[in-house]
Amino acid sequence: MEFKMGMATRDAYGKALAELGESMKQIVVLDADLSKSTKTVVFAKKFPDRFFNMGIAEANMVGVAVGLASSGKIPFVSSFASFLMCKAFDQLRMGVAYSNNNVKVVASHGGISLGQDGASQMSVEDLGLASLLPGFVVLCPADEVATVSLVEAMARYQGPAYMRVGRPKMPVVYENGASLAMGGSSTLRDGKDATIVACGLMVGPALDAADRLSKENGFDIRVVDAYCLKPLDRKAIQLAAQETGAIVVAEEHLAGWGLGPHVARAVAETSPVPMEFVGVQDTYAESGDPDGLMQKYGLTAVDIMEKALLVIQRKVAASTK
């Protein structure tokens, strides 16, 4: 399947934020000396009075955002996903989640696709960590259209929200102007033999895998973009389990610790079916070109296809017992 290459989701975030800043005067933005990388620099140039570069001090940055939020502002805080979630986790826990403050966390450089900078910069834990915070909405958009739509949705939503965006350019899977909702999902391709539930960067490979499984193996594969991990669109997952009977979860994250548990729980509680999990396997990645890394760490369409064939096999075996 061929998709037009679009901008990186971090670029879409920077653009969307600067646009929203015009109509939503309560929006303020904080960054920890990475504004050129997270793309909050676009907002900073347009609204210098509402932008705070907090230096390389993530814990204080989140604390300041908490104070701004509890005084009626809508703060967006940005840095790399690994630094925000690991260095400021207690501040997100106490000040944002426990206090139910209206802070928006948009973390860039999620996953391993940032490439050459290596494992210290990569985040393979952020979606799991964000999911652990009670009351947090957790988002992971797949392309520029989804990002623009979800940045606006999170700005208008009252409460804690986390979004992961990424460094590389992403294929555009949504039509221009598509509107995505908190708590929603998108069935990008229908099918009856198995479902691939993916988020973020893995949506492209999931669609690829479905396409090839159809051409090469004659299977009809459904693809669900679970861009909202929490609250998950449990109805769509339940339907996928009941109608296709086999599920593969694909995420650019530690396998089974980000999107995985959300889907697994929904399936276990509604309609248990064979499941497999594509992602980084209990390890850290390394420096390298993004495509090479995706291959080495098992995040390609081929990896998804292998898991899909496995769950289909188990489904068939169970039905012929």
């Binding site: 009075d49 940055m61 604390g63 908490v66 104070g67 509890s70 502002k73 106490m94 426990y98 206090s99």
Partner: protein
Amino acid sequence: MQLKLSREELPGMAAKLRAHVIRMIAKAESGHPGGSLSAAEVVTSLYFHVMEYDPKDPQREDRDRFIMSKGHACPVLYAAMAEAGFFAKEDLLTLRELGSPLQGHPDKVRLPGIEASTGSLGQGLSIGMGMALASRLDQRKSMTYVMLGDGEIDEGQIWEAALAAAHFKVSNLVVFLDANQQQLDGWTHEIMNLEPLTTKWESFGWHVQDIDGHDFDQILDAIDKAQGEKDKPSIVICRTIKGKGVSFMEGDVEFHGKAPTKEETELALSEIGKG
């Protein structure tokens, strides 16, 4: 309506707060009396003489804000809030009970009037700075006051915030450092030396005052001067005595986090009553 007291009436209110603290912690059979008692004069000054707020409309936008960053000293804050009319004084005795808004450490969701949920040390200064920045953005005159424990400033986040508040010239922010010289495991100079406190904060770019934190004249004068500072954040280093007002608690680190027995409670209340 807000209860405003004259300078002369403040010591009597501080004694009331101390008595509440002892009764609450005795009833709960757990809590932190030492750091509540050392903070009584500053909290009394703020809630009954300095700050503008409406206890019946705790979210009023132009209110002054207070954050008890050393959250374990919340009994003295709850006592002040009850005396100020945020909630009924009888509720003070529900401290730490299941279902009570008076949590073991302050919870802004459960108790209206609490500005920040604290209890994980080191976070209140950053939050106060955010509130002060919001006031400045909205051109409100309101002030933000933050109380830190001295042991609390072991936390790295405090120094991140100290750098940032000076950098952004957050002059509508006033910090009280309750320098009672003791933390859970012992004397601050033994656990983690903090001195020289004044030059440390001065070198971070703060307006620094060093006072007797039990002397109302010095406290009110320091707040006055801090409010007059238009270029820097202010810190008032309050030299205090942990457990102040109860002879057998004063300077006894065991009373950092221990409830008094029945006999100790009666003795403490009789001493506080004497003022």
